[in-house]
Amino acid sequence: MSVCLEIKNLTKRFPGVLANDRVNLELRDGEIHAILGENGAGKSTLVKMIYGLYQPDSGSISLHGQELHFSSPRQAIQAGIGMVHQHFMLIPALTVAENIVLGSEPGNIHYRRKENEEVIRQLSKQYHLEIDPSAKVGDLTVGLQQRVEILKVFYRKAKVLILDEPTALLTPQEVEQLIQVMERLREQGIPIVFISHKLDEVKRVSDRVTVMRAGKTVATVETAKTTPQELANLMVGREVVLQVSKPPQTAGKPVLEVQDLVVAQGHAEKVRGVSFEVRQGEIFGLAGIDGNGQFELVDAITGLLPAKSGKVVFRGNDITKANVHKRTTAGISYIPQDRHADGLVLDFELTENFVLRDFARAPFAQFGQMHRQAIEAHAERLSESFDVRPHRIHAIARNLSGGNQQKVILAREVSREPELLIAAQPTRGLDVGAIQFIHDKLLELRANGKAVLLVSLELDEIMSLSDRIGVIHDGRLMAVLPGGQATREQLGLLMTGVKLEKEG
C-alpha cells in the first residue's frame, strides 16, 4: 500500500507547552489509522496542523509525496482533506442543511434551499445518519449535532478523513453505524485518521495505531498484533489497571431522597414520577439511553429545572423549592455533563474556575473583597493534587485539553467536601488514565461515607462502580438492581423499556 499522508518531525509550541514534539505519522491509502493518547498528549494539535488550523513551527506534512503548506482550512478542503472536530464547529442559529453546505454551496449566487435540503436528505439516508435537514442545529441533541458534523465531511467528498473523537458523544447504536460507514469508506480506499479514547473501538476498527505521549509519537503498532492492555500501558507510560477494584461496604443513612418526581421541559414531561434514594457510602448508578430523562432528573435535583410535582429531600430537608445556591451550600456538588457550557467559564483562568462556587465565601473573600492569595493557594493545591496539566494556575481554561478541563471541574466539586456528588457523564472524552483517576476519586468519596449519584451512558462505567443501579426509560425508573448482580443483558433490556420477569 502506498503512503498517502506523511508527517515528519512536526513540532508545535504554545506559550509554555510543547504540544507536538517531532511527531511522525504515516497514513497509508485505504487504512484506518488510530491515534491514541492521554488527554493533552497533542492529538488534536497534530490533526489541526494537518487541517491548516494551526501552522507548525517546524517539520513537514506531505500528501502523496507533495509537501503541503496550509495557511487556512480552505486549502486543506481543496486538497481533499476533511475533518470532524472534537468540539463542534456548528452554527446553532442555522439549519442542518445550511451548516453542512456552508463554504461549498452549489450554484453561484442564489442559495438553493430546497435542492440543498434534498441532497442532505439523500446523503443522510446513504450513510444511515438520519436527520431532518431543515431543523435548526441549536434545537438538536448533542448526538444529532455530532451527526451533522460527520455529514459535513461526507458532503465535501473528502479523500482523506480525520475524525477527532467522533464517537465521544454518540450512543452505542450510533457508534455501530459510524463504524460501518468507516469500514465502507476503507473498502473504497479512503484513508481515515481516527482519534478515540475507547480502546475497544480502536481495537475493532483500526488497522494500525499510533500512540502519542506528552507531545511525542511513542510507537506505531499493527492493531491485530497488540492488546488493549498493551495500548493502555504505552499511552500512559506505566501499568494501567483497566479493571476497577471496589471494596465491599455497607451503605448508611439516606442522603438524597427523590419522591415521585415529575419534571417537565416545555410541554413535554421528561421525568414522570421517579422515586429513589442515595445513601451514605454508596454509589448509585443511573443507567439509560440518552434522552430518557436522566439529565432532566439531575437538573431537577441540582435546582436547574423546577419540579412539576414530587419532592427532593436532602439530609431530611425538603429542598424541592430551594435555589441552586442553597442546594450547593447545603452540600451538593455537581459535575455537569457539558463541561464547556455548564462546568467552566472557558475564558477565565484556572484560579477563578476553581472557586466558581465559593468565591464569595471565606477564605476566598471577606466583606465582598476577593482574597487573591487564598484563591491562588487553593488553585495551587488543587492543580497539584488532581494533576492538572499544564501545571499553571493562571492558564485560561479554554486552552486546556478536554481531560484536564474535566479534572478542574472534578477538583472543584470534590474539594468542597460535599455530602452528595452528582456526576453526569464524568469521564466522557477522557483517556484511560484520567478515567481511572476519576473513578478512584468517586470511590474515595464513597469510602469516606459520602453519597454519589452517577449518571452515565456507558454501561461499563455504571456496572463497575455502582452499588445499586437504577435504570431509567422514558422518564420512568424501570428497576433498581444491586450492582454486583445485574448483568449487561438485563440492563440492556430495561434500558429499552422491557420489563424483567419477577424472579422467585
Binding site: 487556512s72 442555522l94 456552508l102
Partner: protein
C-alpha cells in the same frame, strides 16, 4: 380629530421621508453586525457621506456624482474602520466612537476650510424628486408613494435587495455564518476577515447614502453635525428590527412617523410635541425589554477573530 390627522397623506409622505435617513444606516448596521462587527460608527459615516456628497456635487456640478462621491468616501472610512477592528482586532465600540468624533471634527473643519464661513453654496445641485407616472395619480397612495426623493426609492429597493442578499444567497449565508461562529466558518473554508470587510464596507456605503440624503436630498447644503444623532437612532432601529432589513425598515418607519407627527402637530399646538417626540424612544425601551420577543443578536457580534491561534 386624531383620525383626521391620520387620514392626511402628507403625514405619511413625511413619515417615509423622515424614515429614510434612519432606515439606510440601520440597514448598514445590520450588514456590519450580521458579519460580527459591532458598528456604532454610523453617525460619523453619515456625516462623511453628507459632507463629501455636497463637496463632490459642487466640484462636478452633478448631484449624482455627488452621491457617488459621498458613498465612496463612506466606503473608505469603513475600510479604515474594518482594518482597525477586524485585522488589528481593536475594540469595536471604542473605534466606532472614535470614528464618530473624528468625522464630526473633520467635516466641520473641511466645511470651514473649503467653503468658508458662508457655508456650502446654495447653487449645490439637488437630488431630484421623482414622479412615478401611474402611481402619483392614485388618490392617497399617490401623494405618499408616488413623488418622493429618489433616495427614498433607492432605500426601499435596498431593503428588498438586502433581505434577498442576507437570507437567500450563498454569500449572505457565509456572511451570517461568520457573525455567528467565525471559527466554524473558518473550518468550513470561509475567509472570515473578507466576509467582515464586506459586511462593514457595504454597511458603510448604505450609511453614507443616508448622509447623502440629508445633505443632497432634503437640504442641498451641509451643516456641521447635521446627522444630529440619527446614526444612534438607526442603531436602535436595527436592534428593534432584530438585525433584519425589513425589521429595520419597520422600526425606522415608526421613528419616522413620530417625527412626522410632531412636525404636523407643531402647527395645531394641542399636544406637546415633546411628548410625541419621546414616543419612539419609549417604544424602543419597551421593545427591548421584551414586548416584541427577545432580540437575538448574532452570536459572535463584537468579538474579534484571530485565525491560527
Amino acid at each position: 380629530m386624531f383620525w383626521h390627522i391620520l387620514a392626511q397623506p402628507e403625514l405619511w409622505a413625511a413619515t417615509l421621508a423622515m424614515a429614510t435617513p434612519l432606515a439606510l444606516p440601520a440597514l448598514g448596521g445590520t450588514f456590519s453586525e450580521r458579519s460580527g462587527v459591532v458598528n456604532i460608527a454610523m453617525e460619523g459615516i453619515m456625516l462623511i457621506g453628507a459632507f463629501f456628497g455636497v463637496y463632490a456635487a459642487c466640484l462636478t456640478h452633478s448631484a449624482w456624482l455627488g452621491m457617488l462621491g459621498g458613498i465612496i468616501m463612506g466606503a473608505v472610512m469603513s475600510l479604515i474602520f474594518a482594518w482597525v477592528t477586524v485585522s488589528i482586532g481593536a475594540d469595536q465600540v471604542v473605534v466606532g466612537m472614535g470614528v464618530n468624533i473624528f468625522a464630526a471634527g473633520l467635516t466641520t473643519f473641511l466645511l470651514n476650510m473649503i467653503f468658508g464661513y458662508g457655508g456650502t453654496p446654495t447653487s449645490t445641485p439637488h437630488l431630484p424628486n421623482i414622479h412615478i407616472p401611474g402611481l402619483s395619480q392614485v388618490p392617497f397612495i399617490g401623494p405618499v408613494l408616488g413623488q418622493q426623493n429618489v433616495v427614498v426609492y433607492i432605500m426601499l429597493l435596498a431593503v428588498i435587495a438586502s433581505h434577498y442578499f442576507l437570507f437567500h444567497t450563498n454569500l449572505g449565508l457565509r456572511l451570517r455564518a461568520v457573525g455567528e461562529n467565525p471559527q466554524a466558518a473558518d473550518t468550513a473554508g470561509i475567509n472570515v476577515w473578507n466576509m467582515r470587510y464586506l459586511g462593514v464596507i457595504i454597511g458603510g456605503m448604505l450609511s453614507s447614502l443616508g448622509g447623502v440624503y440629508l445633505s443632497l436630498g432634503l437640504l442641498n447644503s451641509f451643516e456641521p453635525n447635521m446627522s444630529s444623532g440619527r446614526g444612534y437612532i438607526a442603531l436602535a432601529a436595527m436592534i428593534f428590527g432584530k438585525w433584519t432589513p425589513f425589521g429595520s425598515l419597520g422600526a425606522a418607519l415608526l421613528f419616522g412617523f413620530s417625527t412626522a407627527l410632531s412636525m404636523y402637530l407643531q402647527g395645531t399646538g394641542n399636544i406637546s410635541t415633546n411628548i410625541i417626540q419621546m414616543l419612539p424612544y419609549a417604544l424602543t425601551i419597551l421593545a427591548l425589554v421584551g414586548l416584541v420577543g427577545r432580540s437575538t443578536e448574532p452570536a459572535a457580534d463584537g468579538i474579534p477573530y484571530e485565525p491560527n491561534k
